[in-house]
Protein backbone atom coordinates (compact mmCIF):
# COMPACT_ATOMS: atom_id res chain seq x y z
CA UNK A 1 0.00 0.00 0.00
CA UNK A 2 2.86 2.34 0.87
CA UNK A 3 6.24 1.96 -0.70
CA UNK A 4 9.18 4.23 0.06
CA UNK A 5 12.48 3.81 -1.68
CA UNK A 6 15.76 5.60 -1.00
CA UNK A 7 13.86 8.63 0.27
CA UNK A 8 15.94 11.71 1.08
CA UNK A 9 14.82 15.13 2.29
CA UNK A 10 17.26 17.94 2.94
CA UNK A 11 16.50 21.38 4.34
CA UNK A 12 19.53 23.44 3.40
CA UNK A 13 22.45 21.50 4.83
CA UNK A 14 20.35 19.56 7.31
CA UNK A 15 19.35 16.08 6.19
CA UNK A 16 16.04 15.31 7.87
CA UNK A 17 15.38 12.02 6.11
CA UNK A 18 18.44 10.13 4.99
CA UNK A 19 17.92 7.40 2.43
CA UNK A 20 15.10 5.35 3.95
CA UNK A 21 13.23 2.49 2.32
CA UNK A 22 10.29 0.47 3.60
CA UNK A 23 7.03 -1.06 2.53
CA UNK A 24 3.65 -1.29 4.24
CA UNK A 25 1.25 -3.90 2.84
CA UNK A 26 -2.50 -3.29 2.63
CA UNK A 27 -4.35 -3.69 5.91
CA UNK A 28 -1.30 -3.46 8.13
CA UNK A 29 -0.89 -1.25 11.19
CA UNK A 30 2.61 0.10 10.91
CA UNK A 31 4.34 2.21 13.57
CA UNK A 32 7.16 4.65 13.10
CA UNK A 33 9.09 5.18 16.31
CA UNK A 34 11.93 7.55 16.85
CA UNK A 35 13.25 10.30 19.11
CA UNK A 36 12.29 13.94 18.52
CA UNK A 37 13.60 15.24 15.24
CA UNK A 38 14.27 11.77 13.84
CA UNK A 39 12.39 12.49 10.61
CA UNK A 40 9.01 10.90 11.32
CA UNK A 41 6.87 13.94 10.61
CA UNK A 42 8.93 14.89 7.57
CA UNK A 43 8.31 11.43 6.11
CA UNK A 44 4.59 11.76 6.74
CA UNK A 45 4.55 15.22 5.16
CA UNK A 46 6.15 13.83 2.03
CA UNK A 47 3.72 10.92 1.84
CA UNK A 48 0.79 13.29 2.33
CA UNK A 49 1.90 15.62 -0.51
CA UNK A 50 2.81 18.53 1.75
CA UNK A 51 6.51 18.37 1.01
CA UNK A 52 8.49 17.42 -2.07
CA UNK A 53 11.27 14.90 -1.48
CA UNK A 54 14.83 15.85 -2.38
CA UNK A 55 15.31 12.45 -3.98
CA UNK A 56 13.99 8.90 -3.88
CA UNK A 57 10.61 7.51 -4.78
CA UNK A 58 7.27 7.27 -3.03
CA UNK A 59 4.21 5.22 -3.77
CA UNK A 60 0.80 5.17 -2.15
CA UNK A 61 -1.77 2.72 -3.49
CA UNK A 62 0.31 2.45 -6.65
CA UNK A 63 0.37 6.22 -7.19
CA UNK A 64 3.16 8.73 -6.81
CA UNK A 65 2.29 11.46 -4.25
CA UNK A 66 4.59 13.91 -6.00
CA UNK A 67 2.81 13.50 -9.34
CA UNK A 68 -0.80 12.38 -8.86
CA UNK A 69 -1.35 14.62 -5.87
CA UNK A 70 -5.12 14.88 -5.96
CA UNK A 71 -5.59 11.16 -6.59
CA UNK A 72 -3.32 10.35 -3.67
CA UNK A 73 -5.09 12.85 -1.44
CA UNK A 74 -8.37 11.03 -2.04
CA UNK A 75 -6.86 7.87 -0.60
CA UNK A 76 -5.54 8.96 2.75
CA UNK A 77 -6.72 10.60 5.93
CA UNK A 78 -4.34 12.26 8.34
CA UNK A 79 -4.27 13.43 11.93
CA UNK A 80 -1.39 15.85 12.28
CA UNK A 81 0.96 16.15 15.17
CA UNK A 82 0.25 19.83 15.63
CA UNK A 83 -3.18 21.44 15.60
CA UNK A 84 -4.96 22.00 12.32
CA UNK A 85 -8.43 23.04 13.43
CA UNK A 86 -10.05 26.37 12.72
CA UNK A 87 -10.43 27.80 16.19
CA UNK A 88 -12.91 30.47 15.16
CA UNK A 89 -15.39 27.88 13.98
CA UNK A 90 -17.43 25.41 15.99
CA UNK A 91 -16.66 21.73 16.30
CA UNK A 92 -19.55 20.92 14.00
CA UNK A 93 -18.40 23.42 11.36
CA UNK A 94 -14.91 21.95 11.41
CA UNK A 95 -16.42 18.54 10.75
CA UNK A 96 -18.63 19.94 7.98
CA UNK A 97 -15.76 21.61 6.15
CA UNK A 98 -13.74 18.43 6.33
CA UNK A 99 -16.63 16.37 4.98
CA UNK A 100 -17.17 18.75 2.08
CA UNK A 101 -13.47 18.89 1.25
CA UNK A 102 -13.43 15.11 1.07
CA UNK A 103 -16.64 14.90 -0.92
CA UNK A 104 -18.59 12.90 1.67
CA UNK A 105 -22.28 13.08 0.66
CA UNK A 106 -24.35 15.29 2.93
CA UNK A 107 -26.46 12.63 4.60
CA UNK A 108 -23.53 10.35 5.33
CA UNK A 109 -21.48 13.33 6.44
CA UNK A 110 -24.04 14.34 9.04
CA UNK A 111 -24.53 10.80 10.32
CA UNK A 112 -20.85 10.08 10.63
CA UNK A 113 -20.07 13.45 12.19
CA UNK A 114 -22.80 12.84 14.75
CA UNK A 115 -21.62 9.39 15.70
CA UNK A 116 -17.94 10.41 15.82
CA UNK A 117 -18.65 13.45 17.98
CA UNK A 118 -20.64 11.21 20.28
CA UNK A 119 -17.91 8.60 20.35
CA UNK A 120 -15.32 11.18 21.37
CA UNK A 121 -17.74 12.85 23.78
CA UNK A 122 -17.86 16.17 22.02
CA UNK A 123 -21.50 16.04 20.97
CA UNK A 124 -22.70 18.33 23.75
CA UNK A 125 -20.15 20.94 22.74
CA UNK A 126 -20.65 20.67 18.99
CA UNK A 127 -21.83 24.27 18.62
CA UNK A 128 -19.12 25.81 20.78
CA UNK A 129 -16.18 27.56 19.16
CA UNK A 130 -13.04 25.44 19.13
CA UNK A 131 -11.04 28.19 20.83
CA UNK A 132 -13.04 27.54 23.98
CA UNK A 133 -11.98 23.86 24.01
CA UNK A 134 -9.33 22.37 26.27
CA UNK A 135 -6.25 20.79 24.76
CA UNK A 136 -7.62 17.29 25.14
CA UNK A 137 -10.94 18.20 23.54
CA UNK A 138 -9.18 19.75 20.56
CA UNK A 139 -7.11 16.66 20.13
CA UNK A 140 -10.23 14.50 20.22
CA UNK A 141 -11.94 16.68 17.67
CA UNK A 142 -8.88 16.49 15.49
CA UNK A 143 -9.04 12.69 15.58
CA UNK A 144 -12.80 12.58 15.05
CA UNK A 145 -12.39 14.79 12.03
CA UNK A 146 -9.61 12.64 10.61
CA UNK A 147 -11.93 9.63 10.77
CA UNK A 148 -14.87 11.35 9.09
CA UNK A 149 -14.17 9.96 5.64
CA UNK A 150 -13.06 6.38 5.12
CA UNK A 151 -9.58 6.52 3.67
CA UNK A 152 -7.53 3.63 2.40
CA UNK A 153 -4.56 4.77 4.43
CA UNK A 154 -4.76 6.58 7.74
CA UNK A 155 -1.75 8.58 8.90
CA UNK A 156 -1.68 9.27 12.62
CA UNK A 157 1.20 11.51 13.66
CA UNK A 158 1.44 11.28 17.45
CA UNK A 159 -2.35 11.32 17.67
CA UNK A 160 -2.58 10.60 21.37
CA UNK A 161 -0.26 13.36 22.56
CA UNK A 162 -1.94 14.99 25.55
CA UNK A 163 -4.90 12.62 25.67
CA UNK A 164 -6.14 10.92 28.81
CA UNK A 165 -6.09 7.10 28.96
CA UNK A 166 -9.84 6.88 28.35
CA UNK A 167 -9.66 8.82 25.10
CA UNK A 168 -6.58 6.95 24.01
CA UNK A 169 -8.30 3.67 24.59
CA UNK A 170 -11.40 4.89 22.75
CA UNK A 171 -9.34 6.00 19.81
CA UNK A 172 -7.25 2.87 19.40
CA UNK A 173 -10.30 0.65 19.69
CA UNK A 174 -11.92 2.63 16.89
CA UNK A 175 -8.80 2.60 14.73
CA UNK A 176 -8.39 -1.13 15.20
CA UNK A 177 -11.97 -1.78 14.22
CA UNK A 178 -11.55 0.37 11.10
CA UNK A 179 -8.47 -1.62 10.31
CA UNK A 180 -10.26 -4.92 10.74
CA UNK A 181 -13.60 -4.16 9.10
CA UNK A 182 -12.55 -1.81 6.29
CA UNK A 183 -8.99 -3.02 5.78
CA UNK A 184 -7.69 0.49 6.41
CA UNK A 185 -3.91 0.61 6.39
CA UNK A 186 -2.66 2.59 9.38
CA UNK A 187 0.64 4.43 9.54
CA UNK A 188 1.27 5.86 12.98
CA UNK A 189 3.96 7.54 15.00
CA UNK A 190 3.98 7.75 18.76
CA UNK A 191 6.20 8.22 21.76
CA UNK A 192 4.14 5.80 23.84
CA UNK A 193 5.83 2.43 23.42
CA UNK A 194 2.93 0.54 24.97
CA UNK A 195 0.60 1.83 22.23
CA UNK A 196 2.91 0.76 19.46
CA UNK A 197 3.38 -2.58 21.16
CA UNK A 198 -0.36 -3.07 21.44
CA UNK A 199 -1.67 -1.98 18.07
CA UNK A 200 1.15 -2.17 15.53
CA UNK A 201 1.92 -5.32 13.60
CA UNK A 202 5.26 -3.98 12.46
CA UNK A 203 7.46 -1.25 13.83
CA UNK A 204 10.25 0.76 12.24
CA UNK A 205 12.68 2.57 14.49
CA UNK A 206 14.06 5.71 12.90
CA UNK A 207 16.89 7.85 14.21
CA UNK A 208 18.80 10.75 12.64
CA UNK A 209 16.74 10.24 9.49
CA UNK A 210 17.72 6.59 9.04
CA UNK A 211 15.81 3.42 9.77
CA UNK A 212 17.85 1.53 12.36
CA UNK A 213 15.57 -1.48 12.77
CA UNK A 214 12.32 -2.79 11.34
CA UNK A 215 10.15 -5.74 12.35
CA UNK A 216 7.48 -6.90 14.75
CA UNK A 217 7.69 -5.94 18.40
CA UNK A 218 8.90 -9.47 19.25
CA UNK A 219 11.56 -9.34 16.56
CA UNK A 220 12.87 -6.01 17.81
CA UNK A 221 13.07 -7.33 21.35
CA UNK A 222 14.85 -10.47 20.20
CA UNK A 223 17.25 -8.47 18.04
CA UNK A 224 18.29 -6.25 20.93
CA UNK A 225 18.05 -8.87 23.65
CA UNK A 226 15.61 -6.82 25.70
CA UNK A 227 12.29 -7.76 27.24
CA UNK A 228 10.29 -4.63 26.48
CA UNK A 229 9.77 -2.45 23.42
CA UNK A 230 10.97 0.52 25.43
CA UNK A 231 14.18 -1.34 26.22
CA UNK A 232 14.61 -2.25 22.57
CA UNK A 233 13.98 1.35 21.54
CA UNK A 234 16.60 2.70 23.94
CA UNK A 235 19.07 0.03 22.91
CA UNK A 236 18.60 1.04 19.28
CA UNK A 237 18.59 4.82 19.62
CA UNK A 238 20.73 5.44 22.71
CA UNK A 239 19.80 7.37 25.83
CA UNK A 240 20.93 10.89 24.94
CA UNK A 241 18.21 13.53 24.67
CA UNK A 242 17.69 15.03 21.24
CA UNK A 243 17.63 18.74 20.80
CA UNK A 244 14.98 19.78 18.35
CA UNK A 245 14.87 23.44 19.27
CA UNK A 246 16.21 26.02 16.85
CA UNK A 247 19.55 27.65 17.53
CA UNK A 248 20.32 31.22 16.53
CA UNK A 249 21.61 30.24 13.10
CA UNK A 250 18.35 28.45 12.44
CA UNK A 251 16.29 31.45 13.36
CA UNK A 252 18.44 33.64 11.12
CA UNK A 253 17.80 31.19 8.32
CA UNK A 254 14.12 31.37 9.15
CA UNK A 255 14.10 35.12 8.64
CA UNK A 256 16.00 34.78 5.38
CA UNK A 257 13.44 32.25 4.25
CA UNK A 258 10.57 34.55 5.14
CA UNK A 259 10.53 35.91 1.63
CA UNK A 260 10.88 32.83 -0.46
CA UNK A 261 12.52 33.28 -3.78
Amino acid sequence: MIRVEKLVKRFGDVTAVDNISFEVPRGEIFAFLGPNGAGKTTTIKMLTTLLQPTSGSLELDGLDPTVNRDEVRKRFGVVFQDPSLDQDLTAWENMEIHGVLYGVPRKERRERATSLLQLFELWERRDALVKTFSGGMRRRLEIARGLLHTPKVLFLDEPTLGLDPQSRNQMWTHVKSLNETDQVTVFLTTHYMDEADRVAQRIAVIDHGRIVAIGSSAELKAQTNTDSLEGAFLALTGTSIRDESANSADSMRQIARMWRK
Binding site: K45, T48, T49, L50, L51, Q52, D70, E71, R73, K74, F76, V78, F80, D82, P83, S84, L85, D86, Q87, D88, L89, E93, E96, I97, H98, V100, L101, Y102, G103, Q254, I255, R257, M258, W259, R260
Partner: protein
Protein backbone atom coordinates in the same frame (compact mmCIF):
# COMPACT_ATOMS: atom_id res chain seq x y z
CA UNK B 1 -18.56 23.96 -6.26
CA UNK B 2 -19.53 23.03 -2.71
CA UNK B 3 -15.85 23.28 -1.82
CA UNK B 4 -15.65 26.86 -3.01
CA UNK B 5 -18.93 27.60 -1.28
CA UNK B 6 -17.95 26.17 2.10
CA UNK B 7 -14.62 28.00 2.13
CA UNK B 8 -16.39 31.20 1.12
CA UNK B 9 -18.92 30.62 3.88
CA UNK B 10 -16.11 30.11 6.37
CA UNK B 11 -14.71 33.58 5.68
CA UNK B 12 -18.09 35.25 5.85
CA UNK B 13 -19.10 33.45 9.06
CA UNK B 14 -15.86 34.36 10.76
CA UNK B 15 -16.38 37.98 9.76
CA UNK B 16 -19.95 38.17 11.01
CA UNK B 17 -18.88 36.62 14.31
CA UNK B 18 -16.15 39.12 15.06
CA UNK B 19 -18.27 42.09 16.08
CA UNK B 20 -15.42 43.89 17.83
CA UNK B 21 -13.26 43.55 14.76
CA UNK B 22 -15.99 45.00 12.56
CA UNK B 23 -16.34 48.00 14.82
CA UNK B 24 -12.58 48.45 15.24
CA UNK B 25 -11.97 48.39 11.51
CA UNK B 26 -14.60 51.07 10.98
CA UNK B 27 -12.48 53.40 13.13
CA UNK B 28 -9.85 54.59 10.70
CA UNK B 29 -12.07 55.21 7.67
CA UNK B 30 -14.47 57.17 9.81
CA UNK B 31 -11.57 59.18 11.16
CA UNK B 32 -10.40 59.99 7.64
CA UNK B 33 -13.91 60.90 6.68
CA UNK B 34 -14.69 62.99 9.75
CA UNK B 35 -11.37 64.68 10.40
CA UNK B 36 -9.76 64.98 6.98
CA UNK B 37 -13.08 65.33 5.21
CA UNK B 38 -14.26 68.23 7.26
CA UNK B 39 -10.80 69.55 8.12
CA UNK B 40 -9.56 69.97 4.57
CA UNK B 41 -13.02 70.80 3.22
CA UNK B 42 -12.68 74.61 3.42
CA UNK B 43 -9.31 74.70 1.59
CA UNK B 44 -10.59 72.36 -1.08
CA UNK B 45 -13.59 74.59 -1.56
CA UNK B 46 -11.38 77.69 -1.81
CA UNK B 47 -9.33 76.01 -4.52
CA UNK B 48 -12.53 75.82 -6.50
CA UNK B 49 -12.86 72.03 -6.41
CA UNK B 50 -16.23 71.86 -4.69
CA UNK B 51 -17.10 69.67 -1.69
CA UNK B 52 -14.16 67.67 -0.32
CA UNK B 53 -16.44 65.19 1.38
CA UNK B 54 -18.09 64.52 -1.95
CA UNK B 55 -14.62 64.07 -3.48
CA UNK B 56 -13.04 61.82 -0.87
CA UNK B 57 -15.97 59.57 0.07
CA UNK B 58 -15.32 57.13 -2.83
CA UNK B 59 -11.66 57.13 -1.78
CA UNK B 60 -12.48 56.22 1.79
CA UNK B 61 -14.77 53.43 0.64
CA UNK B 62 -11.93 52.22 -1.60
CA UNK B 63 -9.51 52.37 1.31
CA UNK B 64 -11.78 50.26 3.50
CA UNK B 65 -12.04 47.62 0.80
CA UNK B 66 -8.28 47.72 0.20
CA UNK B 67 -7.47 47.17 3.88
CA UNK B 68 -10.09 44.50 4.51
CA UNK B 69 -9.39 42.44 1.41
CA UNK B 70 -5.59 42.62 1.74
CA UNK B 71 -5.95 41.60 5.34
CA UNK B 72 -8.14 38.62 4.56
CA UNK B 73 -5.65 37.43 1.95
CA UNK B 74 -2.76 37.76 4.35
CA UNK B 75 -4.85 35.92 6.97
CA UNK B 76 -3.46 32.89 5.17
CA UNK B 77 -0.56 33.44 7.57
CA UNK B 78 -2.86 32.90 10.53
CA UNK B 79 -4.11 29.72 8.97
CA UNK B 80 -0.54 28.66 8.54
CA UNK B 81 0.29 29.56 12.13
CA UNK B 82 -2.77 27.87 13.61
CA UNK B 83 -2.49 24.90 11.30
CA UNK B 84 -5.79 25.04 9.45
CA UNK B 85 -3.94 25.60 6.19
CA UNK B 86 -2.60 22.04 6.36
CA UNK B 87 -6.12 20.68 6.62
CA UNK B 88 -7.04 22.33 3.33
CA UNK B 89 -3.77 21.49 1.61
CA UNK B 90 -4.07 17.74 2.08
CA UNK B 91 -7.69 17.70 0.95
CA UNK B 92 -8.35 15.98 -2.38
CA UNK B 93 -9.51 19.12 -4.16
CA UNK B 94 -7.59 21.28 -6.63
CA UNK B 95 -5.75 24.03 -4.85
CA UNK B 96 -7.22 26.47 -7.33
CA UNK B 97 -10.68 25.91 -5.82
CA UNK B 98 -9.37 26.45 -2.34
CA UNK B 99 -7.72 29.65 -3.42
CA UNK B 100 -10.85 30.84 -5.23
CA UNK B 101 -13.10 30.05 -2.26
CA UNK B 102 -10.84 31.94 0.12
CA UNK B 103 -10.39 34.89 -2.19
CA UNK B 104 -14.10 35.27 -2.94
CA UNK B 105 -14.83 34.99 0.78
CA UNK B 106 -12.28 37.69 1.55
CA UNK B 107 -13.66 39.86 -1.24
CA UNK B 108 -17.22 39.44 0.05
CA UNK B 109 -16.17 40.46 3.52
CA UNK B 110 -14.43 43.52 2.08
CA UNK B 111 -17.55 44.48 0.13
CA UNK B 112 -19.67 44.16 3.27
CA UNK B 113 -17.24 46.33 5.16
CA UNK B 114 -17.18 48.83 2.28
CA UNK B 115 -20.98 48.97 2.32
CA UNK B 116 -20.91 49.93 5.99
CA UNK B 117 -18.59 52.82 5.16
CA UNK B 118 -20.82 53.73 2.25
CA UNK B 119 -23.64 54.15 4.75
CA UNK B 120 -21.35 56.12 7.06
CA UNK B 121 -20.46 58.44 4.18
CA UNK B 122 -24.11 58.93 3.43
CA UNK B 123 -24.78 59.83 7.05
CA UNK B 124 -21.88 62.30 6.96
CA UNK B 125 -23.50 64.08 4.04
CA UNK B 126 -22.15 62.35 0.94
CA UNK B 127 -24.73 62.22 -1.87
CA UNK B 128 -24.37 60.12 -5.05
CA UNK B 129 -25.75 61.72 -8.19
CA UNK B 130 -28.68 59.30 -8.17
CA UNK B 131 -29.82 56.01 -6.66
CA UNK B 132 -29.49 54.18 -9.98
CA UNK B 133 -25.68 54.52 -9.99
CA UNK B 134 -25.28 52.55 -6.77
CA UNK B 135 -25.19 49.12 -8.48
CA UNK B 136 -22.33 50.39 -10.67
CA UNK B 137 -20.50 51.60 -7.59
CA UNK B 138 -20.85 48.09 -6.19
CA UNK B 139 -19.39 46.67 -9.37
CA UNK B 140 -16.26 48.76 -8.78
CA UNK B 141 -16.24 47.83 -5.12
CA UNK B 142 -16.30 44.17 -6.12
CA UNK B 143 -13.46 44.66 -8.61
CA UNK B 144 -11.30 46.42 -6.00
CA UNK B 145 -12.09 43.68 -3.48
CA UNK B 146 -11.10 40.86 -5.85
CA UNK B 147 -7.90 42.62 -6.94
CA UNK B 148 -6.63 43.10 -3.41
CA UNK B 149 -7.90 39.83 -1.95
CA UNK B 150 -5.93 38.12 -4.71
CA UNK B 151 -2.88 40.29 -4.03
CA UNK B 152 -3.22 39.43 -0.34
CA UNK B 153 -3.26 35.75 -1.25
CA UNK B 154 -0.10 36.15 -3.33
CA UNK B 155 1.64 37.78 -0.37
CA UNK B 156 0.13 35.44 2.21
CA UNK B 157 1.36 32.40 0.30
CA UNK B 158 4.83 33.88 -0.06
CA UNK B 159 5.42 34.95 3.52
CA UNK B 160 6.49 32.33 6.02
CA UNK B 161 5.62 34.05 9.27
CA UNK B 162 3.99 37.01 10.88
CA UNK B 163 7.11 39.19 11.00
CA UNK B 164 6.71 40.16 7.38
CA UNK B 165 3.19 41.39 7.95
CA UNK B 166 4.16 44.83 9.28
CA UNK B 167 6.52 45.23 6.37
CA UNK B 168 3.70 44.63 3.92
CA UNK B 169 1.37 47.02 5.71
CA UNK B 170 3.93 49.85 5.75
CA UNK B 171 5.58 49.43 2.41
CA UNK B 172 2.74 48.16 0.28
CA UNK B 173 -0.72 48.80 1.66
CA UNK B 174 -0.17 52.35 2.86
CA UNK B 175 1.52 53.48 -0.40
CA UNK B 176 -1.25 51.87 -2.42
CA UNK B 177 -3.73 53.92 -0.47
CA UNK B 178 -1.83 57.21 -0.54
CA UNK B 179 -1.02 56.92 -4.25
CA UNK B 180 -4.55 56.10 -5.26
CA UNK B 181 -5.89 59.61 -5.56
CA UNK B 182 -8.31 58.82 -2.77
CA UNK B 183 -7.35 62.03 -0.98
CA UNK B 184 -6.31 64.37 -3.80
CA UNK B 185 -7.16 64.95 -7.48
CA UNK B 186 -4.85 63.35 -10.05
CA UNK B 187 -4.52 66.45 -12.21
CA UNK B 188 -1.33 68.57 -12.26
CA UNK B 189 0.70 66.15 -10.17
CA UNK B 190 4.53 66.15 -10.30
CA UNK B 191 5.73 63.69 -12.95
CA UNK B 192 7.02 60.98 -10.63
CA UNK B 193 3.88 61.04 -8.51
CA UNK B 194 1.69 61.02 -11.61
CA UNK B 195 3.51 57.94 -12.86
CA UNK B 196 3.25 56.16 -9.53
CA UNK B 197 -0.46 56.86 -9.22
CA UNK B 198 -0.97 55.36 -12.66
CA UNK B 199 0.58 52.01 -11.75
CA UNK B 200 -1.49 51.75 -8.58
CA UNK B 201 -4.57 49.58 -9.28
CA UNK B 202 -6.55 51.28 -6.53
CA UNK B 203 -6.32 54.54 -8.51
CA UNK B 204 -8.59 53.03 -11.14
CA UNK B 205 -10.95 51.65 -8.51
CA UNK B 206 -11.32 54.99 -6.77
CA UNK B 207 -11.65 56.81 -10.07
CA UNK B 208 -14.26 54.33 -11.24
CA UNK B 209 -16.33 54.77 -8.12
CA UNK B 210 -15.92 58.52 -8.19
CA UNK B 211 -17.03 58.56 -11.82
CA UNK B 212 -20.24 56.64 -11.27
CA UNK B 213 -21.10 58.17 -7.91
CA UNK B 214 -20.27 61.84 -8.47
CA UNK B 215 -19.82 62.24 -12.21
CA UNK B 216 -16.23 63.52 -11.80
CA UNK B 217 -13.77 61.40 -13.74
CA UNK B 218 -10.11 61.18 -14.66
CA UNK B 219 -9.72 58.09 -16.85
CA UNK B 220 -13.38 57.31 -17.57
CA UNK B 221 -15.30 54.41 -16.03
CA UNK B 222 -14.72 52.12 -19.02
CA UNK B 223 -10.93 52.36 -18.81
CA UNK B 224 -11.12 51.93 -15.03
CA UNK B 225 -13.20 48.77 -15.28
CA UNK B 226 -10.99 47.22 -17.97
CA UNK B 227 -7.75 47.96 -16.09
CA UNK B 228 -9.17 46.54 -12.86
CA UNK B 229 -10.50 43.41 -14.55
CA UNK B 230 -7.13 42.75 -16.20
CA UNK B 231 -5.25 43.26 -12.93
CA UNK B 232 -7.75 41.04 -11.13
CA UNK B 233 -7.26 38.19 -13.60
CA UNK B 234 -3.47 38.53 -13.49
CA UNK B 235 -3.38 38.55 -9.70
CA UNK B 236 -5.81 35.64 -9.42
CA UNK B 237 -3.52 33.62 -11.65
CA UNK B 238 -0.47 34.70 -9.67
CA UNK B 239 -2.30 33.82 -6.44
CA UNK B 240 -3.27 30.39 -7.72
CA UNK B 241 0.32 29.77 -8.78
CA UNK B 242 1.84 30.90 -5.48
CA UNK B 243 -0.80 28.98 -3.55
CA UNK B 244 -0.06 25.78 -5.44
CA UNK B 245 3.60 26.09 -4.45
CA UNK B 246 3.00 26.30 -0.70
CA UNK B 247 4.96 23.76 1.30
CA UNK B 248 4.58 23.35 5.03
Amino acid sequence: MTVIYILWLREVKKYLRSRTQIIASLGSPIMYLGILGFGLGPIFQKAGEGSYLQFMAPGVIGMTILFTSMFSGIALLWDRQFGFLKETLVAPVPRLWIMIGRTLGGATVAILQGSLIFVACFVAGFRPVSVTVIPFAFLFMALIAVVFAALGTVIGSSLKDMQGFQLVMNFLVMPIFFLSGALYPLTNLPKVLALLTRIDPLTYGVDGMRTVLTGVTHFGAGVDAIVLACVAITLLMAGAWRFSKIEI
